[in-house]
Amino acid sequence: MVLVLALGDLHIPHRAPDLPAKFKSMLVPGKIQHIICTGNLCIKEVHDYLKSLCPDMHVTRGEYDEDARYPETKTFTIGQFKLGVCHGHQVIPWGDLDSLAMLQRQLDVDILVTGHTHQFKAYKHEGGVVINPGSATGAYSSITYDVNPSFVLMDIDGLRVVVYVYELIDGEVKVDKIDFKKTATTHSAH
């Protein structure tokens, strides 16, 4: 059982001062094995805070990030799954599922995590799973109206991943979960 936190588009300090208090109290160091951040943190302080939750952090560059050294995309393996991360402003049209599928094929990953739209999404298509953890602070977005703060926690166990989405709606944290099972295909890396 490997726990992976996925979040992004915090836009601190430009659009939000901090994570919602209810989220902060849930995110305790030492419980998560990996962190995936889609980008737009935007400042070093946020980077350091997230690093304190878990040292194994994968960050990709958002268009407002202060640190220009984050990569545009990142791929890595956790257990049986190949994961890819990209902020998403590079994939046009923004939020378009078919274009994201193309990126998934390009990175050759099972799970693609992207952001930019500030809207939570998790769906399965032939090539794998695409997850958008939304905006962890509920930051303003020109793409999505009425953004609720949200983040995702993935539980990777063998060939199965359970995606928990935490959303702050009207002051309460609501949790939903989605199950994905990877079919052992002949093409995947051994």
């Binding site: 300090p13 430009h14 659009r15 939000a16 001062p17 268009e63 407002y64 402003h89 590079q90 046009i92 049209p93 923004w94 378009d96 078919d98 274009s99 599928a101 193309m102 094929r105 390009q106 050759d108 032939e126 090539g127 930051a139 303003y140 020109s142 793409i143 109206y145 093409h187």
Partner: protein
């Protein structure tokens, strides 16, 4: 953060804060200006939901008035200078103006963004990101009439083709293809111009290969061709009549030949990308129905 439920009051707060932050120097402006801009954009959205204008006091709270303030506020970033940030903020305002149906205001914001791109953003990596942000925003705009939209898309495609590195040019040009196909109900669906963009990006990819051959003795990886193939597939599936299964077949054969050629640098990433693309086509064929029929003549 700034907040007040009454739009009148909120606007007064924004005006007052603005006066103060304008006196802040180049160190503070990159932090204070964006925060103010987004507070103002939130207010605009709030006012969008209400009917009619809220008139009263010396500064009536209307989206138009707020956009005027925003224009002046973002201008202040030129003193820092922070052209990349300013460009992003102009694009945000353009989108908000489009949502408010204010065509001239949106056009003005785009003009400002383009001016910054032309005059202030010289770094090739920054240009690549900036042109993608412009294309991405423009793709979503539905407020422009034909003339204005044409001018802006023409500018965007022009700049895309002028990026320094050929692979960057190729990618930006095929991104522009989306400017001519919007999936909405009354969105533009100009199949011919889409194909023109894709063909142009194909020519650029070819040129890039030849250049690599000439300068390094072996042609580069075929990634660009696989990317373009995926774009052909995208529009093929969306029903663009100009994209035929023959064209897709042609590209597949081109890539296969290139990959087998002695002079091509082997690249596991491109191989994997091509493989997953072919797998996708196979999957679509097996789906049967309308999609299966579309792909019938494509051999993988």
């Amino acid at each position: 953060m700034l907040h007040n439920d009454d739009p009148e009051e909120m606007l007064k707060i924004i005006c007052t804060v603005r006066k103060h932050i304008m006196t802040g120097g180049p160190k503070r402006l990159p932090f204070t200006v964006p925060s103010l801009v987004f507070s103002a954009l939130r207010l605009v959205r709030q006012l969008q939901g209400q009917d009619g204008d809220v008139i009263g006091g010396e500064v009536p709270a209307t989206p138009k008035k707020i956009f005027q303030l925003l224009n002046q506020t973002i201008e202040a970033l030129s003193t820092v200078p922070a052209p990349e940030l300013a460009l992003r903020l102009y694009l945000q305002c353009a989108e908000a103006a489009s949502d408010c149906d204010l065509e001239p205001v949106a056009y003005e914001f785009f003009t400002q963004a383009f001016i910054l791109y032309e005059e202030e953003i010289a770094d090739s990596k920054a240009q690549f990101t900036a042109i993608h942000l412009i294309i991405g925003t423009l793709q979503r705009m539905n407020v422009f009439g034909i003339e204005n939209r044409d001018t802006l898309t023409h500018k965007a495609t022009g700049y895309s083709a002028k990026l320094l590195k050929k692979p960057d040019q190729c990618r930006a040009v095929y991104a522009c293809s989306h400017l001519f196909w919007v999936d909405d109900q009354d969105g533009i669906k100009d199949g011919e111009r889409v194909l023109l963009c894709l063909k142009r990006s194909l020519r650029i990819a070819n040129a890039a290969q030849q250049m690599a051959s000439a300068t390094r003795g072996s042609s580069g990886p075929v990634t660009l061709f696989v990317e373009i193939l995926n774009k052909y597939i995208y529009f093929f599936e969306k029903g663009n009549p100009q994209i035929t299964s023959a064209a897709i077949q042609g590209l597949i054969e081109l890539i296969t030949t290139e990959m087998q050629s002695d002079s091509t640098t082997p690249d596991p990433a491109s191989d994997a990308f091509f493989a997953s693309t072919l797998r996708y086509i196979q999957f679509q064929k097996q789906k049967g129905g309308v999609m299966g029929e579309k792909y019938e003549s494509v051999k993988v």
